[in-house]
């Protein structure tokens, strides 16, 4: 089996974003997707701190502290971009105007519940940011994460044990092992990395997966 690395997960996900889509990339891992969007598509990136049309990272020395993304990293603005205030920005999110958002996750449940903001540890300082708004508002919520925790447990679970970010909100999961759709009747495997059998994926994941073997050519 050849697990995808983070860049490969990002590249795989990026392939599914169609031309003309309005997309929010969550802070952390999802930000990587920006670098892998197909060059022949025009995709408009949104950041919840009030900007549409984010361009590539600025060249060294060209950073401007007034032009940052939701992760507070310096960005640039493309021709066609626009600025707006926070209430308008979250109106876009909540009002279902974003075609896709991409979020990291601690856990995703069979029902599409998402946990990504809080470990639930009693001494942890909580911080939620815009994650709950994105989970509740985007037309398609895509999750990007490693399939297993560091100690080998599946992050796809029957029920989330961490506090929820949103209930029944995830549409598709991209991991280092597979691409999985969350549907009303359960989890459908779309793709598996080379060298990994469905049976092995099923064993690693724990919860029930559905799969239609691709027809051999």
């Amino acid at each position: 089996m050849k697990k995808l690395d983070r860049k490969q997960i990002a590249a795989r996900l990026a392939r599914d974003i169609p031309d003309g889509a309005y997309v929010n990339l969550g802070i952390g891992l999802p930000t990587l997707v920006a670098e892998h969007l197909p060059k022949d598509r025009e995709i408009v990136l949104h950041s919840e701190n009030g900007v549409l049309g984010i361009g590539p990272r600025p060249a060294k020395g060209m950073e401007d502290g007034d032009l940052v993304n939701a992760g507070k990293q310096p960005v640039t603005l493309l021709a066609g971009g626009a600025f707006f205030h926070h209430a308008d920005s979250f109106g876009m999110i909540r009002g279902r105007h974003l075609d896709y958002c991409v979020l990291g996750a601690f856990q995703v449940s069979v029902a599409g519940d998402l946990a990504n903001w809080h470990t639930g540890a009693p001494d942890a300082i909580p911080a939620v940011g815009g994650a709950m708004d994105l989970a509740a508002g985007a037309k398609h919520v895509l999750v990007m994460m490693e399939h297993l925790t560091k100690d080998g447990k599946s992050k796809i679970v029957e029920r989330c044990t961490y506090p929820l970010t949103g209930a029944r909100c995830v549409n598709r999961i991209y991991t280092d092992l597979a691409v999985i759709d969350v549907k009303a009747d359960g989890l459908h495997v779309v793709e598996i990395v080379g060298g990994l059998s469905f049976e092995e994926l099923q064993r690693l994941t724990g919860v029930a997966l559905k799969y239609r073997e691709p027809v051999a050519q």
């Binding site: 031309d19 003309g20 309005y22 025009e42 408009v44 949104h46 549409l52 049309g53 603005l77 021709a79 066609g80 971009g81 626009a82 600025f83 707006f84 209430a87 979250f90 109106g91 876009m92 999110i93 909540r94 009002g95 279902r96 105007h97 974003l98 508002g137």
Partner: protein, 226 residues
């Protein structure tokens, strides 16, 4: 590539079905998308629900849409004008349902639809006929009425300049309902005076970001007689 420019108003409205809910921008003549309304009449969709501040005046625009018997219901704040004869006639004949909404509540209900708000409490109209039968609640020292969003299938608005991403600017008080209607409709069609290359609009001064706009039609202003 994103290109929201459409060659003609007719093409931009070719798929409006019977029974659609259509928002129409404008406050009187300012911001009224006259050419789009003409195209909607030509399209011939019937049984429309129209959301607009007024109910048309004289014989053109929204008044003509009513005269052409395309409208089943109108949601507005100020239908009565000295020259709203087409509305008056259809209303008195019982051919047109009217939902009268205070102007600020109309604006906020449209805004709520675009911003994903499920309902909101407003102090406007509490204790009046226009709040009859509505849920109310005392919050702090003020009484409020519960109001729900107004969503639309189409919004027809008039802006000033647009780029191919659908970013819009407006001209003076012609802005009025344009930005909020754009966000509240599934398909927003903007008629503009001028189209400009991507990057020509100041990103600080874009009023309606393109995410809210699906189609843009340039309507050249009528040349004034010399």
């Amino acid at each position: 590539m994103i290109d929201k420019f459409i060659a003609t108003a007719q093409a931009a409205l070719a798929d409006v079905p019977d029974g659609a809910t259509v928002m129409i921008g404008g406050f009187g003549g300012a911001g009224m998308p006259s050419e789009l309304i003409d195209a909607l009449i030509a399209r011939g969709a019937k049984q429309l629900t129209v959301v607009s501040n007024n109910a048309g005046s004289a014989d053109a625009g929204l008044a003509a849409l009513i005269a052409a018997k395309c409208v089943r219901k109108i949601i507005c704040s100020f239908p009565r004008q000295t020259d709203s004869w087409h509305f008056d006639k259809a209303y008195r004949a019982g051919e047109l349902e009217l939902e009268l909404v205070p102007q600020g509540t109309l604006a906020e209900r449209i805004r709520a639809a675009g911003a994903g708000i499920g309902a909101f409490y407003t102090p406007t109209a509490f204790g009046t006929k226009l709040a009859e039968g509505k849920e109310t609640r005392r919050i702090g020292e003020r009484d409020y009425v519960l109001e729900y969003p107004i969503h639309a299938d189409y919004a027809l608005i008039k802006a000033d300049r647009a780029d191919r991403w659908g970013n819009l600017t407006y001209r003076m008080t012609a802005r009025n309902f344009g930005p909020i209607m754009a966000a509240a409709a599934q398909c927003t069609v903007a008629q503009v005076r001028e189209t400009v290359p991507l990057g020509a609009l100041d990103p600080e001064a874009v009023v309606t970001p393109g995410i809210f706009v699906q189609r843009v039609v340039r309507i050249a202003p009528l040349r004034k007689a010399a």
